[in-house]
């Protein structure tokens, strides 16, 4: 059991981060915290990719370093994903600022009631 688990524990960390992110997106009432939860969920998936590329004893994918190297492709995909994630966060936070300007609250429950009364 332990022998099967020890080399894969980083994947378990990924799953736990996905769990924390999901909890934040559903459980927290504050919209800003929901966005933080989304960011946390993303980094969980990043960890999955980077852990999949990792090879014990290999050097980074820079050719001046000695072979073997780790695979560069997952790193490239995650670099792109990080930048896209920031764009997403910026738009989400812009919408949150507008919501606050119009409704005066960031609480999802209060917001729902206000919308319902209109």
């Amino acid at each position: 059991m332990i022998d099967a688990f020890a080399p894969r524990y980083l994947y378990l960390v990924t799953f736990l981060l996905l769990g924390i992110g999901t909890y934040m997106m559903i459980g927290n009432r504050n919209l800003v915290k929901k966005v933080i939860g989304m960011n946390l969920f993303q980094t969980g998936i990043f960890l999955f990719f980077i852990a999949a590329a990792y090879v014990e004893g290999a050097s980074p994918a820079v050719l001046t370093r000695e072979a073997p190297h780790v695979s560069p492709l997952p790193h490239v995909l995650i670099l792109t994903a990080i930048v896209v994630g920031v764009s997403l966060t910026a738009v989400a936070l812009g919408l949150i600022v507008r919501i606050y300007a119009d409704y005066g609250t960031l609480d999802a429950d209060v917001l729902w009631e206000v919308r319902h009364d209109d």
Partner: protein
Amino acid sequence: MSTLEFALVAFVLATGLATAVLRDVLGSIIAFAAYSLGIAVVWVVLQAPDVGLTEAAVGAGVTTVLFLLTIAKTVRPSGERTLERLDLPALGVAVALVAVLATTLGALPPVGGAETPVATSEVTSYYLENAYHEAGVENVVTAVLAAYRGFDTLGEAVVVYAAGVGVLVVFQREVFA
């Protein structure tokens, strides 16, 4: 697992958990900045220095500034309680998700093994063997990002541009007036 790796993972999980349970949004943002910094070091330990640099600059830097600006423009809920009240349905969903995902753990290749599908892939060896001749860059990550998958990066630039336009549309210039 080495002691360093174990300590880093414990730090990342602890700050991630603190982000979720702290009631004060400012506290949550600071915990998330610490989390980003911790995960940036994890990338370096896992031999992904390019990702580590980007995460430290963008994840811990830019994202934190964006969150702080939002707090400054809106509201920071204050209360006597330090911790958020536990939401049981959400906790149930999260635990169910982790449980379902955990059943796949045994089927995944071990982390760090030389025989994993990623390490033995043809794509990986092609990039590592030909990047210098074909792109003239010694950093293979740069070669793949800017040359082999340049269109991917162009798409990324389009997303950033669209996000910029989106934010301007949402604010309708009033914030900048």
